[in-house]
Amino acid sequence: MTKKIVLNEKTLAFQKKVEELSGENTAMCDQCGTCSGGCPFVEEMDITPAQLMRKVMLGQEDVLECDTLWICATCNTCTVRCPRKLDVSKIAEALRQIKLRDEINNLDINDLPKNVLKELPQIALIAALRKLSS
């Protein structure tokens, strides 16, 4: 992480891309922190949901590298409480989509031990593959 931010066409383009995918106007975020304070998984995250919003508002692509994206369970607590009625979950989903289009595999089925595969409910496996693999 660097202390310096340069605002240019690239950062604008990234913000626009997230807005297109999510359908949300990220400039409406007031940075009040309601989403972070109520997030049930915030302690496991490396950046808070409001911080994630801030990075998107400033077009900082390094947001794609944070753990928060993958810890978010889309429980929607942030979305139903946002005083600006922003759908924060949708923005997290948009970021995951961008990342997954890079054809990364955060979950390789071959890495899962056979006994785990046997016991794992099928629906959990499908959900995990949908969320974590391209």
């Binding site: 007031d30 009040c32 309601t34 972070s36 808070t48 946002c82 005083p83």
Partner: protein
């Protein structure tokens, strides 16, 4: 009617007009018609010499109608109306033609085309003036009686100002004491002077003033009436104490209170203390009198108790009292109905209903007020948090607005607590600190100096801590980007302000309008901030929108001053440019009665009748009349048809015409502003001044197309600044009807549309008109057959 003799006066405006427009050519064009007695050109019609010319010609030639082609009527209408009076003519047989702002200025570089346009404009004026007729300004006599609704600091201030200037004031308050919310506050920000100490002398002055008739424990139950004459009915709730005028009056000996076995929360103390069923509402109550709360008193519950009645040495208890109705008439009304605080149950994640140590801002006012008592009625633990923006700035509660006082009242309560008990650990969780007022920033800084910690983050949720009365708070510190999860002994919710139910009632009684935040709407946000859309009704205080005490007092004095201005006129001129009914044509269908938002049209003997004192001149009744029986003075149907014929008369083959019906408040002024800035829009545009877009009927629109219009635009103010915000729906209906007829004739229905214009929308207007006219010139023209089919 006598023979029509029209005088036309063309003004050069010292070259402003004559350098562009060939006035002698216009003169030739107008001259020679039978009823045109004289056409004169003068360098400055508004000057003494110019006016003298008009007056002399009028007298010499016996003129009975006058057209003056000069500048915008917003400039010199008053001047020329006075000239008419001097010439012995009625003000309304005058027609002004706007050659300067609408023709010579914008088209400096197109003198020939501008001269052609000027001919159309003057012809429209001549056509119109033929249909003009005398109108008398009606006068309404006024007294000096004012009703002030609400006895908070706003109502008290307005009442005192009015009473001191010799007006007769009725001050009505629904609570048993006046003083409102300000009397509840412990101290005021940012000076920390005692709230009760400031307001109580004013409360006493209001009670003692010979010109103020104070009615507490009373509510308005009906207001019948029209502007400048309101018949008011007030219901006084019983106190069950004999009135003071009786000889055997109450001595406030307190024996009744000691005897009373019933205990109820003292709501003036925000429930942190108890009171009896017979009580005095507050230590500084005005009037300082007992009342019995019949919702808890055992006598009213089951008749089992009459201890107070038995013990009273003066025998002033009277259980037989009933609500009493009082009726009176006033000339003006000030609405100062105040506010409620937003109930924290709107934010369930703060657990106000479940957690004992979560309190509201007003509760904290009382807690802090008693904090130095030993022991305090409500002790405060060591660690205290304030949560800002509870309910306001929050779309989840539907309240987008900032309540404007919570930042500073939290700073105040935190500071007072810290000063009284320096050992307390105090935190304020905020979204933004808004310290915008005089001395506010310094006050905020002093709170920081006192050691109060400010954390930037909106609190997400509060939880109870098991086996403890502490409260667990969760928030993000958005500056360090870390999550705070901490226990507090007391959490104060800085809840915002909202419109109250009493205001809602008054809105319905007086037919006021509300702005989108639910507070009362002023007549104009900039230059009529305390007027309303009802003449003679003024607003002040938080009922109009959140504000602090100094702003409230200033606004209350402003409202009082506006009342004084109105009442000082003794007689009030009613603009005669209002709706009226042609009774011979009216068949009594009643559509206009339903369409009138001000209930200004009545049915009498099977015919509609306009109550002039109620009509506000929006014209919304005209388009709904199937027979054109309801009409409008100085913008009548015959006058409108004549003007349209004139203004479109000069259209030559191959030319196009955009006709704009411009409302007098916004769109017409916008066109004036364009002229003043010499900004050009397509010269084939024709602008007609109308009271509002609602006045235009489908028939007028269709007539315009018959006469050669290729596009019709109805322009009116944005709803937020409109004098007639309701008129939008009427206009929509009119357009639907007109579009249907266009479609039947095979004409594209987008040739009619409505647009909002503010007087400052210069670029928007020129861009829109130029774009439209370019498209029009390329489009397939409307054929003569199509026009005749309309």
């Amino acid at each position: 009617m006598a023979e029509k003799k029209i005088g036309v006066f063309l003004c050069q405006c010292g070259g402003n007009i004559s350098k562009t427009i060939d006035l002698p050519e216009v003169q030739n064009f107008v001259e020679g018609k039978d009823d045109i007695s004289v056409v004169q050109i003068h360098s400055n019609m508004c000057s003494g010499a110019g006016q003298k010319l008009i007056i002399e010609e009028a007298k010499d030639k016996g003129l009975n109608r006058i057209v003056i082609a000069s500048c915008s009527p917003h400039f010199h209408e008053k001047t020329f109306r006075a000239t008419m009076e001097k010439a012995g003519l009625n003000q309304f047989v005058l027609e002004l033609v706007n050659l300067r702002e609408h023709c010579s200025w914008p088209y400096k570089d197109q003198p020939e085309a501008a001269t052609e346009k000027a001919k159309d404009l003057v012809l429209a004026g001549v056509n119109k003036v033929r249909e003009n007729y005398s109108l008398e300004k009606k006068k309404i006599k006024m007294g000096k009686r004012v009703l002030v609704i609400g006895g908070g600091i706003a109502g008290i201030q307005a009442s005192l100002d009015l009473a001191d200037t010799g007006n007769e004031v009725y001050l009505v308050e629904k609570e048993p004491t006046i003083g409102g919310k300000m009397a509840i506050l412990t101290k005021t920000f940012p000076t920390e002077d005692c709230s009760a100490c400031i307001i109580s002398p004013k409360m006493a002055a209001a009670q003692d003033h010979p010109n103020i008739n104070l009615m507490t424990n009373s509510e308005i139950v009906s207001t019948v009436g029209h502007r400048l004459h309101f018949e008011i009915t007030v219901e006084k709730k019983p106190r069950y104490i004999k009135p003071e005028i009786d000889m055997d009056q109450c001595l406030i000996c307190e024996q009744c209170v000691q005897e009373c076995p019933v205990s109820a929360p003292n709501m003036w103390e925000q429930g942190i203390m108890q009171r009896k069923a017979i009580y005095i509402p507050a230590a500084l109550a005005i009037p300082f009198r007992y009342l019995i709360d019949d919702s808890v008193c055992l006598h009213f519950k089951d008749g089992s108790c009459n201890k107070c009645e038995t013990i009273c040495p003066q025998q002033v208890i009277d259980f037989s009292q009933k609500p009493e109705k009082v009726q009176f008439t006033v000339d003006n009304i000030i609405v100062a109905t105040g506010y409620d605080t937003i109930h924290p149950s709107e934010k369930p994640m703060f657990g106000y209903d479940k957690l004992k140590n979560v309190v509201t801002g007003l509760e904290m006012e009382r807690i802090v007020d008693h904090i130095t008592e030993k022991p305090p009625p409500r002790p405060v633990g060591d660690k205290v948090a304030f949560i800002q923006c509870v309910g306001s700035r929050d779309e989840q509660t539907g309240r987008e607005y900032c309540s404007r006082v919570c930042c500073m009242y939290a700073v105040k309560l935190a500071s007072l607590l810290k000063q009284a008990k320096p050992e307390k650990d105090i935190y304020v969780f905020y979204t933004d600190i808004r310290a915008y007022g005089k001395g506010f920033e310094e006050y905020y800084k002093r709170a920081q100096q006192l050691g109060i910690k400010f954390i930037r983050g909106k609190v997400a949720e509060l939880h109870g801590v098991p086996d403890s009365e502490k409260v667990l708070l969760k928030a993000e510190d958005t500056l360090s980007r870390q999550i705070i999860e901490s226990e507090f002994d007391l959490v104060v919710l800085s809840n915002g302000l909202k419109p109250n139910d009493s205001t809602e009632k008054i809105v319905n009684f007086l037919k006021l309008t509300k702005s989108s935040d639910g507070f009362l709407q002023e007549a104009h946000p900039k230059y009529k901030p305390v007027d309303t859309n009802i003449e003679g009704v003024f607003i002040c205080g938080v009922a109009q929108g959140p504000k602090d005490i100094p702003d409230t007092v200033a606004q209350a004095s402003a409202a009082a001053a506006r009342v004084m201005v109105t009442l000082a006129q003794k007689e009030f001129d009613v603009d005669p440019q209002l709706a009226f009914v042609e009774t011979e044509i009216c068949d009594g269908c009643g559509k206009c009665v339903a369409a009138c938002p001000k209930d200004a049209i009545l049915m009498k003997g099977g015919k509609a009748e306009v109550v002039e004192a109620l009509c506000v001149g929006c014209g919304a009744c005209l388009p709904v009349c199937p027979l054109e029986a309801i009409d409008f003075h100085n913008s009548s149907n015959s006058q409108m048809y004549a003007s349209i014929n004139g203004i479109l008369a000069g259209k030559k083959p191959g030319e196009t015409r955009i006709l704009i019906f411009a409302d007098n408040t916004c769109t017409y002024r916008l066109a004036d502003a364009l002229g003043i800035r010499k900004m050009k829009y397509d010269i084939d545009t024709r602008i007609m001044r109308v009271p509002s877009s609602a006045r235009i009927s489908a028939n007028l629109i269709l007539h315009s197309f018959k006469q050669g219009a290729d596009l019709v635009i109805l322009g009116d103010c944005p709803v937020a600044s409109s004098l007639y915000p309701w008129s939008r729906d009427v206009t929509e209906q009119t357009m639907l009807a007109a579009r249907a007829r266009l479609a039947e004739a095979g004409i594209a229905d987008e040739r009619i549309f409505f647009s909002e214009f503010s007087a400052g929308d210069l670029q928007k207007f020129t861009a829109m008109i130029n774009d439209l006219s370019a498209k029009l010139k390329q489009a397939e023209p409307i054929t003569e057959e199509q026009r005749q089919e309309l």
